[in-house]
Chain length 597, copies 2
Amino acid sequence: MPTFRAPVVDYRFLFRELFDVASLASLPGYVNADLDVLLTALEEGGRFCEDVIAPLNMPGDAAGCRWEAGDVKTPEGFPAAYAALADAGWLSLACDPAYGGQGLPFTLRFAIDEMLYAANLSFAMYPGLALGVYEGLYAHAGTALKELYLPRVVSGKWAGTMCLTEAHAGTDLGLIRTAAVPNPDGSCLLTGQKVFISAGEHDLTENILHLVLARLPDAPPGTHGISMFLVPKFVPDANGAPGARNAVFCRSIEHKMGIRGSATCVLDFDRATGWLVGEPHKGLRAMFTLMNAARLGVGLQGLGLAGVSYGNAVAYARERRQGRSLSGVKDPQASADRILHHADIRRGLLWMRAFVEGARALATWTAFQIDVELRHPDSSVREEAADLVALMTPVIKAFFTDGAFVATNIGVQTLGGHGYIRDYGMEQFVRDARIGQIYEGTNYVQALDLAGRKLPDGNGRMLRRYLAIVRAELAEAERDPNLAAMANAFGAAVNRLSRGAMHLATKGIANGDEVGAAASDFLQIFGYVAVGHMWLRQARVASQRRVTGGKMDQRFYDAKIRTARYFFERMLPQTETLLVTLMSGAGNVMDFDDDAW
Amino acid sequence: MPTFRAPVVDYRFLFRELFDVASLASLPGYVNADLDVLLTALEEGGRFCEDVIAPLNMPGDAAGCRWEAGDVKTPEGFPAAYAALADAGWLSLACDPAYGGQGLPFTLRFAIDEMLYAANLSFAMYPGLALGVYEGLYAHAGTALKELYLPRVVSGKWAGTMCLTEAHAGTDLGLIRTAAVPNPDGSCLLTGQKVFISAGEHDLTENILHLVLARLPDAPPGTHGISMFLVPKFVPDANGAPGARNAVFCRSIEHKMGIRGSATCVLDFDRATGWLVGEPHKGLRAMFTLMNAARLGVGLQGLGLAGVSYGNAVAYARERRQGRSLSGVKDPQASADRILHHADIRRGLLWMRAFVEGARALATWTAFQIDVELRHPDSSVREEAADLVALMTPVIKAFFTDGAFVATNIGVQTLGGHGYIRDYGMEQFVRDARIGQIYEGTNYVQALDLAGRKLPDGNGRMLRRYLAIVRAELAEAERDPNLAAMANAFGAAVNRLSRGAMHLATKGIANGDEVGAAASDFLQIFGYVAVGHMWLRQARVASQRRVTGGKMDQRFYDAKIRTARYFFERMLPQTETLLVTLMSGAGNVMDFDDDAW
């Protein structure tokens, strides 16, 4: 069975040396976010994930969820773990103290989320969705709904879901048909069927709050006629306790490739009572508050899975002996060398490491921007941070999940035949990682969001702001002669990103298919540059601290610099081919007769 | 449930127009290999796979194999299908008529194998391994063993296995410990444990023949002390019927990510009776006869899975409606356009198509070389063909299985959320495909075989021979102005292959790690060039026949040329980055402290 070791050491570097996380305490509302508090929380959170959550992961995959006459039984241990999670304060971390939260920064929330997802993705989806409903209600509901529901989510008593997809409406939410008919008392009756609803039914909490997209009778067709409703499984009684059973039922659960401990439900709404959240017909926009948070969360899932797979792959490669090193016997006293000495094994492990540590730095950078966006007193600073978060959201979602799928597969490959056997747990990470490229908007949807929406917005304002930051980092790195080769490689990749953006801007006007055909390659280039930005910064800081002294030991800084080198020499060059294929245009995919397929 | 449609139309093109398969009938021993016979066999074999084998695939995955007190029950329908396969002649196709075979060419065998693997990989592994034992005995056993065993394998009554791996000895077979002690009567008693033995125990046949690697008492250590033995589950009696139960027992079966209908067994040999096959201590070399055939077979598995995933992905994309085409509404009468109109969906589908049709052509080209190697009257022609097959074996194994994993994942992605659900069957292709990169020598082992063994052999003789053929094709294409862009792209990729080979030859001498760090990238470049060679040829032939007329319709030739264009513009450019990373050297993977991991 694989083990999970929390990446606390790396986070210590990120919080104390790579980013000025201590400065968060000076933002209004974050007065309690003392760096020591955050670092202690990190350590305790890591231990909680290691000891309580991770051991349920493999058994949960084997058992899966069980549907019985509309009820869903989650794997053994999940209900107790959910209660423990809430009791220990890991649910309420970043929630508003007004509703029982701790008001700590998202920079910490993201780090804890990575660890929860790494320890047990299936389990961690339940609190993740509960917090999604918290965010949705917090941002869009009126005071009465907030006061009734939010404290119960924050305390872990009630969980929640996002009900968007219908059988014929996945990517295309404009097609949804679920209908909401107003009652005289201001509530509505919802009727329709939702599919692929994660955490749609379970035995973890006494109530489940469904945020449901549906159409009011006067709704215009398409995406501008969708409203958001809150439909609780049990309608709260006068005391706020779960009261009458509402008419929402779990018809079945899906049997999936992975995340088998997460209940994926078909939900039937049969004149279920719900309450409008936010304005009529503006539900899709409201849902995007959750969607964007969820997309970043999915990216963190990828990061977590890649990280736990990496840790287990390294542990195996340190122990397993097969063959002899090609540069000469390394352990003459043993019958074979450890496979860690084989160049291709290292090539794979370093890919994982460079991806994980680069993505972790980028996630932390982005979380920091979220905190600035939420809390900074200066509105222009908030706006710039919001731009950066908006720009990075599709990149983190898609690039992290694509990378996680590569990384977890390297993890399997490192173990050879054992990687393919369920008992070793490495193949579960692959199966669990695979959904990340699909849900919360397929990675193509992310690419279109980036290339077709974020890029043109304000004539490229978001990208310009981001490139200014990137180029400042590049200029700093260019001053350190030790970083010349890396800076050079990175500068070339940044230019490729600009050229790709230019191609989209010029070709995309006349023909939308030019955007469609180039978007995924563009997002990949963006991802490499964004992670490269983090590697350049890590290399620079490590290079400086190696000389001036820092809080980590020399070996840590050395490893950072060498991993950076691997990234720049073996991963970033991918941008070269990506730009070639991006620039090859839409003709080679569109010019194909419909009936020739 | 997915469906399988046999790629008979594409094979008709390959057999009649791309390659001169008709000429095989002029080779000694292939007098019955009339082109019409082969094409009829293709069609009938395709139908058999569609109707009999494919329907067992998803149920077989769901049921898996069951171990009961040493017996293994395969999924329902497998035993009857095995009998039907043998009865219909699909097992004996390429076997020697002296032992009941039909003596047909490997060019046909490969095509039938692709279809069997596509229809049901788990099932097709059983006959595949039986034929592996056939090959091993045919090449290395004495007359008595051959006459006793071969007809029973060919008739489908007895099946077989290859027993190589032990728990501590996977890639490194020099470490195996299973011991063989000679009896006075010439037989031996084998004791040891083998793991990961595919088809090690099952209910398909009345007997199972294990080809086992073990050490004789006087064996030198390492790979030069390994001998090959035949250990039947039941020792044949005087009439050649299954007699005494031999002391080989299935202790357990593995629970795997995929190929769940294939029994992967732990086999205990407890003084089991066996007979030496071939010379003492030369068993590993003998086993390589089987291994090479098995590696090509694994490549065909990848091809098959990619092909069946492609067919189902296209079928879904033709039906599913989501969103509107970015270049304008395509089906105004419907609520949404078919996803086949979305550029990124097409980009994925064309990747699959270009991979599948290119790999299929390359497999057929290689099978043709095998037939020449086996049958041509001129020994120098046979030797050249043998070189080409030896060179291509690791490429087909690794490049096809890597590509199949990409392709089957595109298949999942095309279906979005439905791709992740078991009922749609697309995720099974991914799980089944994943093992191909691992077994029969991991893809890194293939890369080392290519870069460290095949390349230096005779000072690069194999590569020189191959490049001469490739450059002749390039010269032909350069004469057709329609193919100028493709020829140009291909020429650049061929040069990258040469430069990669030169890098290996020069750097590898001083430091073996330089070979290890570059081998996988080199194999990938080789794969792209080898498939590119086939695409250039297909484009050339299609371009000519479109004008002069051929046996296929215009639409077929057009689609070939457009798929070729996609390959040259969007897949082959990958060789650019691969050469950069290959040339980046071993330093960036080897310079990492052991204790810094």
